[in-house]
């Protein structure tokens, strides 16, 4: 399987859209315009997009508290996402969920999650469902380095293996869980942990879209063919604080700036495709401008959208009569 010119341009557009989305939210949060907890994905775009490029609507993903990038990569509507983050009635979840709970089941996006380690068991269920219903679908859990230490995660590895599920665990290791370094909190290694369950593991540089894309291709192909689970360990970096408002004093001075200058996923992608003559700079510049305009539009529309009214408070608690 090869990436066509269209695929490449789409991948870049998705990553750029996520970056614009997150950069805009950072500004908006600093200005006091957004309520609640917001965790930004900027810097990690190659992971979400590199994986989700292989997925379609029959495939499910479970995201984390840092979910905006996974949502956009899986095809959630960015305009409705923006309204959700502002708590508006036309938000993707009616304003009831907010940043930490954006979901769109019709797109196979099983939700961002406020519970660290909440996702891995859910995708075992989604993978089981795909397997039994013979949809050909697979299920992917994005797992932070911090979440990789939860019991739920280990239990899911074991379950996925013993049930031979079409499940993929993408450990997004950005080096930190809140203010704690994964170098300390994770004993052994992600790959060795997978090996302990007889699950194949692939280690990739998560700044490199092509490396992620290739690893995901292999893992997802295996899962679709009935070959069971795979773990992908992506090393990457988050550009902003753990949550908006975090002063990030636990990182070394200049740590993030260095990554931005040397390994930014958008920069690496641009270099790679222009040097290889796959895309020209003008097409990429054009994509940059479009992403910026789109996010500006999402922002202004979301801000102008009405808040939910009292009638919404008690709806959606149950599905059948109560």
């Amino acid at each position: 399987m090869q990436l066509s010119r269209d695929d490449l341009l789409n991948a870049y557009k998705r990553m750029r859209l996520i970056r614009e989305f997150e950069d805009a939210l950072h500004e908006e949060f600093s200005a006091g315009n957004i309520p609640g907890f917001v965790h930004l994905y900027a810097g990690e775009e190659a992971s979400g997009v590199g994986v989700c490029m292989h997925l379609d609507d029959r495939d499910a993903i479970a995201s984390t508290h840092r979910g905006h990038g996974h949502c956009i990569a899986k095809g959630c509507d960015e305009r409705a996402m923006m309204s959700e983050i502002y708590g508006r009635a036309d938000g993707l979840c009616g304003g009831k969920g907010g940043s930490m709970h954006i979901a769109d089941l019709s797109k196979g996006m099983m939700g961002a999650n406020g519970i660290v380690g909440g996702g891995p068991p859910l995708i075992c269920g989604a993978a089981l469902s795909a397997k039994q219903r013979k949809t050909g679908g697979v299920a992917v859990a994005f797992v932070g380095d911090g979440a990789s230490n939860q019991g739920t995660t280990f239990e899911s590895y074991n379950l996925a293996k013993v049930w031979n599920l079409p499940a993929i665990f993408v450990v997004e290791d950005n080096g930190y869980a809140e203010a704690t370094a994964s170098a300390w909190s994770v004993s052994g290694s992600q790959a060795k942990r997978a090996a302990g369950f007889d699950i194949p593991a692939i280690e990739v540089d998560g700044h490199d879209f092509f490396a992620v894309w290739e690893a995901a291709r292999e893992a997802i192909e295996r899962a679709r063919e009935g070959g069971g689970p795979t773990l992908i360990h992506c090393r990457l970096n988050r550009y902003y604080g753990h949550f908006e408002g975090d002063a990030v004093t636990y990182k070394a001075p200049g740590e993030v700036e260095k990554v931005k200058a040397e390994k930014d996923c958008l920069m690496l992608f641009r270099q790679r495709v222009t040097e290889a003559g796959l895309l020209d700079a003008e097409a990429l510049d054009q994509a940059d401008r479009e992403a910026k305009a789109r996010i500006d539009q999402c922002l202004s529309e979301a801000k102008a959208a009405p808040a939910p009214t009292e009638a919404a408070l008690l709806t959606d608690v149950y599905t059948s009569a109560y």
Partner: protein, 342 residues
């Protein structure tokens, strides 16, 4: 007396107990922060800075940052408590009880009884609860009624900084497992707090307002709403007693019943969902014990039967407030016995 915030009061209680008793250790996610990281040590002092400075004073041996593994470290705190330490574990948000509840309610709570009285488990679990932070459905719940339900656990709900310090010191000195609930919207609230250590006994309510017409029993942060309502009502000529039970387990039944008997009218205020909560508990108590003294049915002011919504517009409707309490007081005063809408 010096004024201190709820945050400072909790920090001070921990510090003073750690100074007094070296068996007291604290653990939790980023309660210091910076573990294994190249930057600042004690970078966070807890996600909301509650434990800031304790690691620098007591060292990493007694202030333990944990990986994100609540079932593991809450369980370890239970085990350490049963074997000679007096751990204070921080469960960042009480909503995360889902990942570690077994260690609390099947292990810690039951050792004493199951083992025929032989075990002693002096454990404190500090945890954040409550709505108002736009933190949505998985970071805003109350959940203290679930813990109150479990025999073997004690449950403290300080409503101000003075109570926070005294109840936390009592929790640490107590030989039973204690769930200590901190309302996340109160950390900056200031109150008069003595510098010296003091313990507030469990099961002793505070009466924060005295009046003749209506008894308002309120829990945790709702005590402040009830006080505000009582002050507004006083200006309208309705005088209220406000009872702050301070702990839900044990519950000071005597103070609730005595004050309820005096006024004959009871409003219970609870930020938890309306079913099987502290409001239903108190209403049942009053109905069972002093039915004959009641001049009106008990009214309950609670959150509705739905998860906590994110949108500020909805969350503001969700949380009980002084206006809703005042309306309930007027109802019991006017003798309107409207059937409660679900």
């Amino acid at each position: 007396m010096p004024k201190k915030s709820y945050r400072q009061a909790i920090n001070e209680a921990l510090r003073q107990e750690m100074e007094r008793d070296e068996r007291v250790i604290i653990m939790g996610e980023d309660i210091a922060g910076g573990m294994g990281a190249p930057g600042e040590d004690d970078a966070w002092g807890g996600p909301l800075g509650i434990t800031k400075g304790l690691m620098t004073q007591f060292g990493r041996e007694r202030v333990l940052d944990t990986p994100i593994t609540e079932s593991g470290f809450i369980g370890a705190a239970v085990g350490a408590a049963a074997t000679g330490l007096r751990p204070v574990a921080e469960l960042m948000f009480v909503d995360f009880m889902g990942v570690c509840f077994d260690q609390i309610f099947n292990q810690a709570a039951k050792f004493k009884y199951m083992f025929g009285g032989k075990a002693v488990t002096p454990l404190t679990i500090r945890t954040m609860y409550g709505a108002g932070f736009r933190a949505a459905s998985q970071h805003s719940q109350c959940l203290y009624p679930l813990f109150t339900h479990i025999p073997g656990l004690k449950v403290a709900l300080p409503s101000n900084a003075y109570e926070a310090k005294g109840l936390l010191i009592q929790a640490i000195r107590d030989d039973d497992p204690v769930m200590f609930f901190e309302h996340k919207a109160m950390y900056d609230d200031e109150w008069e707090v003595p510098d010296e250590p003091y313990a507030i006994p469990f099961g002793e309510a505070a009466v924060t307002r005295e009046g003749d017409d209506v008894t308002i029993v309120a829990f945790g942060r709702m005590v402040n709403m009830a006080n505000e309502a009582a002050d507004n009502l006083a200006k309208q000529g309705v005088s209220c007693t406000v009872v702050d039970p301070r702990t839900t387990s044990p519950l000071d039944r005597d103070t609730i019943l005595e004050t309820a008997e005096e006024t004959g009218r009871v409003v219970v205020v609870d930020e938890a969902h309306p079913r099987c909560n502290m409001a239903t508990d108190v209403a049942a108590l009053v109905g069972q014990e002093i039915f004959g003294a009641l001049k009106a049915p008990v009214r309950m002011v609670t959150a509705p039967h739905c998860p906590v919504p994110f949108s500020p517009a909805l969350e503001d409707l969700y949380i009980p407030n002084a206006a809703k309490i005042e309306a309930a007081v007027h109802e019991v005063m006017s003798g309107v016995h409207a059937r409660a809408a679900e």
